[in-house]
């Protein structure tokens, strides 16, 4: 497929997600508007320079110092066009900023120079992302080192992957196929090798792919997190009974907690991540700041596994009489 030059020459990118057509429509509107004004300005400029070409060396044209109606006209027209672009662009951006509730979470870690991906069922892959077609997918992305940016041109989605925080991106692929995955933010020497392939499969193919054995470890992130939770002795303070030195984690995901000082915070991935890596920053009201940081002691993937486990605490009956 790659041998012959220009064999796959395209002038417009393939579209394979539900957002793609919306961005393409907006883009094509902007292209049409730009082509119109570019041709108009070139045509007027060439027309003027021919019509008013200097013929008489002594001719001094009558000066015109301006025209208020014209200035208003050619301010208002660009203003309206720019507002259409702004409004439409903001509408598309906001419409796709929140994933649907039934999105499946896939965890992505960017590091120099690879994409490490883990599926909710535990399957891991590198520089490849397998997703089912017609299923919203939410990527929870973090970086182990520098800035990266997750970019799938065929889906028209891109999001910077920033160390020290979770970045989220979602898409719903609507066409089975193989698509480029690029790192779009310069990240060092092998930046242009930090590429991969997104495989969009039918739901049954995806299920089958999930079941094919990988590298032996088919523990789910939540199971790995549970193991880690006990290895790190988290439960000695975060006891399930809710009477320990630290808040109980049962059913905590999705709730709103009140901090010392009255600030309120929703317990989501970003909050849990910060609580593990920088526990002194926000203290839940009524507790002492006793937790040590796990910054530098556990990997991004382990943080994610812990969070995956914390999300399950309380979902099943807890052993000793929790709330």
């Amino acid at each position: 497929m790659w041998e012959q030059p220009f064999k796959d020459l395209d002038f417009f990118p393939e579209a394979a997600s539900t957002i793609a057509w919306e961005i393409d429509a907006l883009y094509l509107f902007a292209v049409a508007m730009s082509v119109f004004f570019t041709i108009l300005i070139f045509a007027v400029m060439i027309f003027i320079s021919l019509k008013f070409k200097r013929r008489d060396e002594d001719f001094v044209p009558k000066p015109v110092h301006g025209s208020v109606p014209l200035e208003i006209l050619w301010s208002v027209i660009p203003f309206i066009i720019t507002q259409v672009l702004f409004g439409w662009g903001a509408y598309v951006f906001f419409k796709y900023s929140q994933p649907p509730v039934d999105a499946m979470d896939i965890h992505v870690v960017g590091k120099q120079w690879m994409w490490k991906i883990q599926h909710p069922e535990g399957k891991r892959e590198i520089n490849e992302l397998h997703v089912p077609v017609d299923q919203p997918v939410r990527l929870i992305m973090s970086s182990e080192d520098v800035l990266h940016s997750f970019f799938v041109p065929a889906f028209r989605v891109k999001r910077d992957v920033v160390p020290g925080r979770y970045q989220k991106l979602w898409f719903e692929a609507d066409k089975v196929g193989e698509y480029h995955l690029f790192c779009a933010e310069y990240c060092g020497n092998e930046h242009s090798k930090m590429i991969g392939t997104v495989y969009v499969m039918t739901a049954s193919e995806y299920d089958e792919w999930l079941r094919t054995p990988g590298n032996g470890e088919e523990e789910t992130p939540a199971q790995a997190g549970e193991r880690l939770f006990s290895e790190l002795r988290c439960e000695s303070c975060h006891s399930a009974a809710g009477v320990g030195r630290a808040p109980s984690l049962a059913n905590i995901y999705g709730t709103v907690v009140t901090m010392e000082g009255g600030e309120r915070s929703r317990v989501d991935e970003a909050y849990l991540r910060e609580s593990i890596l920088d526990p002194k920053r926000h203290i839940v009201a009524g507790f002492e700041s006793t937790m040590p940081t796990f910054q530098g002691q556990i990997t991004e993937e382990q943080v994610f596994e812990l969070i995956a486990y914390i999300r399950t605490i309380g979902a099943e009956p807890v052993v000793s009489g929790g709330e």
Partner: protein, 546 residues
């Protein structure tokens, strides 16, 4: 170009001018004459442009094939960083203000020099020291952070002479600040009697707006680069999350300068446009005040839009919304300028000289550059085109196509004023056409390959993008030829060019009507008094009197 061509009598007087009244290296290196300082900048900036151009040539040659077979990945990454650092900090930022601005501002104002001539020389030395430090960084092997120096890559992970390059940009920044300060004071305090604000040439308005940005924005990048050096050298956690810092903070601080810097590049070019178009249409500028105010509007709005570089960085979506709104607003004063220039040409007596060809090229290229800027400020489109070749192409249309074409228009317009000679018109027009065609040929394909999804700063790329890269490289060859030509015919004009009088274009303005070509070391005999409106091409009576 015979030397026997009839010379204008005025030139026969053995009158000293700023070029020949003093000789020797010291008379140049210690000069406090704004005209000589302007020429010093032209010499060094031209050299830097050549160095940046060599890097560009390496990049374009490498991208001929998708495999990355000419340069190693490391060399390629250092080449695009060198290209960006040299071209941004050492060519485009000082390009028009330090060269044409220095040479022309006092002449246009009817002043003997800028307000602080010694400070002006110090500015040049800041620039030279900055150049020296940056050149050392590049000679020691360079760096691969990209000119944007994004943390934490630049502060923690990158190898190479990062600190030296930052120091170079830091020191050169002082040149920009001091020049801006000098010009603001000069414009406020040194105007000739009768030269009111609304009689100022629009080039002066543009330089004024530019100077305000230089004074207000450059200190922020100086602080940012200093903080980055602190983090890199001493490990002070500011931007690297592993040290407790915030990488998004770096982007905010960096773009707070580096977006306005685009207006430092483009506003003076717009100022040149107003002068050139008015002169060669032999007509007062249409909508003078609107153009003057639009320069100020662009300068002010330019400070409020930096976040449009960060829609996908993790910045709040509501902040992004505001930045998107403010950014698209800039299209209005920009479009208004283009319409006013076209209206200036309407009904004029248009002469297609070399500067006018560049001016028309500028309008064409800036139209495309400006319109594609709207794509990027539209949040929905930016999701897809951010960090692709679409962005690369857009900012080259504005920063290279427009700014350099504006500079070349000005250089060709005021060349006879600077040196009292005229260059070969055929060669000059050929160069102008080659630059226009070569530029579009180079960068237009990059819009297409950008929308196809080719990310920027890629040493290797998927083969389906090759067609567009070959087109780009072919265009770049034509463009390079176009940029090389002036070196020859302008140099030749200095040796053997036709001597011209004070005002070969029949232009209005104190620099044309009241000063010799080349001007006297003191610029004017006595202080000019301005008694008429600006661009009074239609009036027959004596423009200005002593």
């Amino acid at each position: 170009m015979s030397t026997a061509s009839p010379a204008i009598p005025q030139q026969e007087r053995p009158k000293p001018n700023y070029l020949n009244h003093a000789h020797g290296f010291a008379s140049w290196l210690l000069t406090i004459d704004h005209k000589r300082i302007g020429l010093l900048y032209i010499a060094v900036i031209s050299l830097m442009f050549a160095i940046g151009g060599v890097y560009a040539g390496l990049i374009r040659l490498e991208l001929l094939t998708p495999e990355g077979d000419l340069l190693s990945t490391e060399t390629y990454n250092r080449a695009f960083t060198g290209h960006g650092v040299v071209m941004t900090f050492f060519v485009l930022v000082p390009l028009i203000p330090a060269t044409l601005g220095n040479f022309l501002l006092p002449l246009m104002l009817g002043a003997r020099d800028v307000a602080f001539p010694r400070l002006n020389l110090l500015s040049w030395y800041c620039y030279i020291v900055g150049v020296g430090i940056a050149a050392t960084a590049l000679l020691l092997g360079g760096l691969d952070t990209g000119w944007t120096f994004y943390a934490p890559y630049s502060s923690t992970y990158a190898n190479g002479s990062v600190v030296l390059a930052l120091m170079g940009a830091f020191v050169a920044g002082f040149s920009s600040i001091l020049t801006g300060l000098n010009f603001v004071v000069t414009i406020h305090k040194m105007r000739a009697p009768g030269l009111t604000w609304f009689r100022l040439p629009l080039f002066v308005w543009a330089i004024y707006a530019t100077s305000l940005i230089q004074v207000l924005a450059t200190p922020v990048v100086a602080i940012t680069l200093t903080l980055l050096m602190l983090e890199r050298v001493l490990g002070v956690g500011i931007f690297d999350p592993a040290l407790g810092g915030d990488p998004i903070l770096f982007q905010h601080m960096f773009w707070f300068y580096s977006h306005p810097v685009v207006y430092i590049m483009i506003l003076p070019a717009m100022g040149v446009m107003s002068e050139v178009i008015s002169c060669f249409s032999r007509k007062a500028v249409f909508g003078y005040k609107v153009i003057a105010y639009s320069s100020m509007a662009i300068a002010i709005l330019g400070f409020l839009v930096w976040g449009h570089h960060m829609f996908l960085s993790g910045q709040s979506t509501y902040a992004g919304l505001l930045f998107s709104f403010l950014t698209v607003l800039i299209a209005v004063p920009s479009a208004v300028k283009i319409f006013n220039w076209l209206a200036t040409m309407w009904g004029g007596s248009i002469e297609m000289t070399t500067p006018m060809l560049y001016a028309m090229g500028f309008i064409g290229v800036f139209t495309i550059g400006g319109l594609t800027g709207l794509f990027l400020s539209t949040m929905g489109i930016d999701i897809h085109v951010h960090d692709t070749y679409f962005v690369v192409s857009h900012f080259h249309y504005v920063m290279v196509g427009s700014a350099i074409m504006g500079y070349l228009a000005g250089l060709h317009f005021w060349w006879p004023k600077m040196f009292g000679v005229m260059y070969n018109q055929v060669a000059a027009r050929t160069a102008a056409v080659l630059i226009f065609l070569g530029f579009n040929f180079t960068f237009f394909p990059q819009f297409i390959v950008g929308y196809l999804g080719m990310p920027r700063r890629y040493h290797h790329y998927p083969p389906e993008f090759q067609f567009f890269n070959i087109a780009s490289t072919m265009g770049a060859t034509v463009l390079a030829l176009g940029y090389l030509l002036p070196l020859f015919y302008l140099t030749y004009s200095l040796i053997n060019g036709k001597k011209v009088g004070a005002n070969p274009w029949g232009a209005k303005g104190l620099e044309w009507e009241m000063a010799d070509s080349p001007p006297d070391p003191e610029n004017f005999e006595g202080t000019p008094v301005v008694t008429e409106e600006v661009y009074a091409y239609a009036k027959e009576e004596e423009a200005v009197v002593h």
